[in-house]
Amino acid sequence: MTAALETRGLRKEFGAKVAVADLSLSVGRGEVFGFLGPNGAGKTTSLKMLLGLIERTAGEGTLLGRPLGDRAARARVGFLPEHFRFHDWLTGRELLRFHGQLYGMRAAHIAPRAETLLARVDLLEAADRALREYSKGMLQRIGLAQALMNEPEVVFLDEPTSGLDPIGRLLVRDIIHELRDHGTSVFLNSHLLGEVEATCDRVVFVKQGRAIHELRLTDAGRSLAVELEVAADAEILAGLERLGRDVAAENGVVRLRVENEEALPEIARFVVERGGRLYRMSARRKSLEEWFLEVMGDDQRPG
């Protein structure tokens, strides 16, 4: 089966300004993909190019095996724009039915699908109220339901949890997990790193319109930072060099990096067998936030 999404060298210029320089991406079927970067990195512009909302200056790409912007492919795609807004005189139920029509769904399928989604995003009670009476969080949830009307194969979510309270965020997180279980690909544009960490299989960091780093969150490829509070001699320290890397000792605390959890019992046994007195041992993965700051470099200013 082809990838859900593939691009090579996508570029977008607005006059002299380069919004997206050179974007090459691949998103698999059923993958939850995080697109990370500071404000102004070209995330939304990239997403709009993928959906055919703006024309690209250069580059190629396919969405569900069809060229970017293809109408038939859009029938199998869902999109929740950032700060979702729609005609505020429509009720939630009318909005979903109207979008069902826009997707070209059969009339008999539209009504039951709308009811299922209204229940899923917890808006059944508000279904007959006009959108102008909805809170920011309710709008975001009805927007998410709108993006799922056609049971899409790929869903693009641009900052889906902005404006949501913690309960709303949990709901979105659960829905993303359900989508993945159904084999739907999710393209998540976000700078809420906690959300991304909790939902994504893989992330790409973008900076100035370029994908500069890729990170798989599911596998163990992310090394662990280990900290030992230990009274140890030079021999033990030298031995630790073999078990991990970047070993550094300071004030009775030894820090090193290991590739996976299997190294931890080895380290403990080694230290104890050599007569080291181990008071404390901890290991943790580098958080996405630490990765983000490291990958983006020191030249970042709040955008």
Binding site: L53, A75, F84, L102
Partner: protein, 278 residues
């Protein structure tokens, strides 16, 4: 193609109904017609009391009816520009259009759906208002202008030209710029037409020429002139003394030109919107 256009057109009509645009338009229209009926009633009563020949009174009533239709023409122009002025630019600005355009629907279907809905709204408005004026003229004045079947479609064509302009402008410009431009062009055609009439009357060919150029840039006022020419009694037309009796009558090719003008403007709007980044 048809399905997409129909879906967008339905939403647009639904919006007009839901946002009470129709109600407001209807109520203002009714107020106008009521005032018109009362005014006409007293004018006719006064004319009858003062005597005068049957022909004089007939001409007088025809004049008042045309004045009523002229007011309807002006209101239709306003409606045709203002109703669709925000429909595309406003939805682009608010972000509604992004959600719409990401659906499996052509950009052209969005523009055409909105165009059809607004043409229907303007047609309904014209039928209601002009129909009201004519019914009142018939009931109170006892006369109907001749050749309504020629005059009213010309007034509608004028409205269609303006709806097309307003829709097409919205694909390129912000709401305010679009409105200013549409009314600016209408004003240009209006003044151009008067320059042409006076030029013809005074035998000044330069003035006539300027007027013709203005009608080519914007053919709306010509359509009203031609409609007014058709809908007045032969005698009034021959005397040519009223503001509704054009000295220089727009030709039939001008009607064809206005129709093509509307289509071309609409096509350019579809083209601009199809290329536009959202």
């Amino acid at each position: 193609m048809i399905r997409g256009i129909a879906t967008v057109a339905r939403l647009t009509l639904h919006e007009a109904a839901r946002r009470r645009i129709l109600l407001a338009t209807f109520l203002c229209g009714m107020a106008f017609l009521t005032l018109y009926a009362i005014g006409l009633h007293f004018i006719v009563k006064n004319a009858n009391a003062q005597g005068g020949s049957f022909v004089q009174r007939g001409l007088f009533t025809a004049f008042i009816t045309l004045a009523g239709l002229y007011a309807v023409n002006f209101l239709t122009v306003m409606t045709a520009v203002l109703l669709p002025v925000d429909t595309i630019s406003g939805e682009i600005a608010s972000g509604v259009m992004q959600t719409l355009a990401a659906k499996p629907i052509r950009r052209s279907e969005i523009v055409l759906g909105k165009w059809i809905a607004h043409v229907l709204l303007v047609a309904a408005y014209l039928v209601l208002m002009a129909g009201g004026v004519l019914a009142i003229a018939r009931a109170i004045g006892g006369v109907l202008p001749p050749r309504i079947h020629l005059g009213l479609p010309l007034m509608l064509l004028e409205g269609v030209v303006l709806v097309s302009l307003s829709i097409a402008g919205g694909t390129r410009f912000s709401t305010v710029t679009n409105g200013v431009m549409a009314f600016g062009l209408y004003g240009l055609a209006f003044i151009g037409s008067w320059v042409e009439q006076i030029g013809t009357y005074a035998g000044n060919s330069t003035a006539r020429y300027i007027g013709t150029i203005a009608s080519l840039i914007m053919p709306t006022e010509s359509m009203w002139q031609l409609a007014a020419h058709h809908m007045q009694p032969a005698l009034m037309r021959d005397v040519g003394a009223s503001p509704f009796s054009p000295v220089s009558v727009p030709s039939t090719p001008m009607v064809v030109y206005a129709g093509l003008y509307a289509l071309l403007v609409l096509a350019s709007g579809v083209r601009a919107f199809s290329k536009r980044g959202l």
